[in-house]
């Protein structure tokens, strides 16, 4: 039997020790009417050789197209050492580090992760990670409502420049607790939050403003002014950031006069493969004064009985296994393995390396926009500074153009028409350091041909 080591003799002797006539007898407390006789719908088992062959065939069906899609998940080089170490059994098959003495490796690694992410985001404290970027935004909204000392408001402003899927996750996660998410329009010139639309909320009792930087369109928001405005209005500021960009962009802890209050984001760009959407990890950092309102695990450094330094989970009284119905969240996971990969990634890449990754991504992206807007009928949607993504407007339906590109082995970007119908035919494109000049040229040539073909059809 796969992964069951018992010999017939073992079974006989174990049953004798128990005093039961058969394995089936061990289930005699279960009403007989409920017991099933087999699992006919499950296929026959496969040997490792057979499953290897099957999975290779399935993988081949997925292909390896040249992709220019970003929209919240980004292709970056991942050093070989990252997953070679992360998948060591001692990390891969370890349990949550509740038994601190037998988990110092995981605990110290989390502490180092907390240090790196806090510094990267310019905030004082970090948790040990959440599920993903979307759920981190939802948890941040719940936390802001909980942590706000002066307001009991359940309203949170989430501009339409925030990733639409993050907004959806926030609504499905926090809506049941009465949180109301209200959108704020963006400016058509530069794809940034419309300050006039925002000003309409002045003087109202609102718990928090969410600011994504770079925003979903890849554009850079005027984070200082937005942060100060929100604070003047008595709102907390939730920053949603791309960790790679923070090598070059002002960290949320320094936004405006006093900095953002909670910072979250998708950690995937830090050494986590795209992998069809997961597992990724969400990061969350905040001010020390809000640490007790923060959901998720946190590791602290302390000493043992001999005064020797060591690490342990701390502030656990906030968590579900102790506080039950009054916990800060029902969460009892951190994406430990992904956070492990990210910590090794940040270590291997280092501060200069991360700056180079960010710079190279900006340059490839800007060259891509330059090349694609040479194609007739294609233009950039917005002015203003960008990070590594851009919105292109097409004079033909984006879906049709994308299909033509796909036929040439290219994934041309993310079609925005469902989420932003007012833009018309619009495509969000991304290039990172992994793209070569040849890749960009190949896309530009293919786009020319694709647009022409759609126009002719």
């Amino acid at each position: 039997m796969p992964f069951i080591p018992h010999t017939e003799q073992d079974v006989r002797e174990m049953l004798a020790t128990i005093g039961a006539p058969s394995i089936d007898a061990l289930f005699d407390e279960i009403p007989a009417s409920l017991r099933i006789q087999g699992l006919d719908g499950i296929p026959e088992g496969l040997s490792e050789m057979e499953i290897g062959r099957l999975m290779s065939e399935r993988a081949r069906l997925d292909g390896r197209p040249l992709s220019f899609i970003g929209a919240g998940a980004y292709e970056h080089h991942i050093p070989s050492a990252v997953w070679a170490i992360t998948t060591r059994g001692e990390f891969y098959s370890a349990y949550t580090p509740y038994q601190a003495e037998a988990s110092q490796g995981t605990l110290q690694l989390i502490y180092e992760y907390q240090t790196m992410i806090s510094s990267l985001t310019g905030m004082e404290v970090s948790n040990a990670s959440l599920y993903d970027g979307g759920s981190a935004v939802a948890e941040a909204a719940l936390m802001a409502v909980r942590a706000h000392r002066k307001s009991k408001s359940l309203r949170v402003l989430v501009p339409s420049t925030v990733n639409p899927n993050y907004r959806r996750v926030a609504i499905s996660t926090a809506g049941n607790q009465g949180l109301r998410f209200e959108t704020v329009a963006y400016r058509r010139e530069d794809g940034c939050i419309d300050r006039e639309a925002l000003a309409a909320f002045a003087g109202e009792d609102i718990a928090a403003l969410v600011i994504q930087q770079p925003n979903f369109f890849g554009q850079l928001e005027d984070v200082d002014t937005l942060t100060d405005w929100a604070h003047e209005q008595g709102m907390l500021v939730i920053a949603v950031v791309n960790p790679t960009s923070l090598a070059l962009l002002k960290p949320p802890g320094e936004w405006g006069k006093t900095g953002a209050d909670i910072c979250v984001g998708e950690g995937q760009p830090l050494g986590v493969p795209l992998s069809s959407g997961g597992p990724y990890f969400g990061f969350m950092t905040t001010r020390m004064e809000y640490v007790r309102s923060m959901p998720g695990r946190i590791v602290g450094r302390t000493v043992d009985l001999d005064g020797k330094p060591g690490y342990t989970l701390t502030l656990q009284a906030r968590e579900q296994h102790i506080r039950r119905g009054k916990a800060t969240s029902n969460i009892c996971t951190n994406q430990g393995l992904l956070m492990t990969a990210a910590t090794i990634y940040m270590t291997l890449i280092g501060p200069q390396g991360l700056a180079k990754v960010a710079a190279a991504s900006m340059q490839r992206s800007s060259e891509l926009v330059e090349a694609l807007t040479q194609v007739k009928g294609v233009r950039a949607a917005f002015n203003g500074p960008r990070f590594h993504e851009a919105v292109l407007l097409l004079d033909r339906a984006a879906a049709a153009v994308l299909r033509e590109l796909e036929a040439q082995g290219i994934l041309g970007g993310f079609d925005l028409s469902a989420d932003y119908p007012e833009l018309g035919s619009a495509l969000l494109v991304c290039a990172t350091e992994t793209k070569t000049a040849g890749d960009l040229a190949r896309y530009a040539a293919a786009l020319g041909a694709a647009v022409q073909k759609v126009r002719a059809a």
Binding site: R292, Q316, A317, I322
Partner: protein, 131 residues
């Protein structure tokens, strides 16, 4: 056995209250409560000016193993909080009826503590809980 000073009044949820000479009421958690929680690591006191209802959750006391809400035994407005608890939550373990007080209120009505248990009745509650 827990200490239950005779001159205080108590709530079943293990808070005590004391009327100060100027009419304000001082509130804390009982010896039984601090003992059950163990070493306190954090105390979240109410904000000044908050108006409290009887039985409303108004503070949190946190140890390594539990975080418990404190329910106000009296109605009134918070006029003073014990600032020293933020740096020294252990004051509650060391002297819960003295230096470990949580907050003081201006009571909403003069009849303030009449509804609370006296030391004898609270001791009976503890005995019934097996404590």
């Amino acid at each position: 056995m827990s200490q239950v000073p005779a001159d205080l009044r108590y709530a079943k949820s293990h808070e005590w209250a004391r009327t100060l000479p100027d009419g304000r009421i001082e509130v804390g958690i009982t010896d039984h409560a601090q003992h059950a929680l163990g070493d306190l690591v954090f105390v979240d006191v109410p904000q000044l000016g908050t108006s409290l209802e009887i039985g409303g959750a108004c503070a949190v006391v946190e140890s390594v193993k539990a975080a418990s809400d404190v329910y106000s035994p009296v109605a009134g407005t918070v006029v003073e909080v014990n600032e020293s608890l933020s740096g020294s939550p252990e004051l509650i373990n060391e002297d819960c009826y003295g230096k470990g007080w949580l907050y003081r209120v201006q009571p909403a009505s003069a009849s303030g503590l009449d509804a609370l248990l006296d030391a004898g009745a609270y001791s009976a509650v503890l005995a019934a809980e097996g404590g």
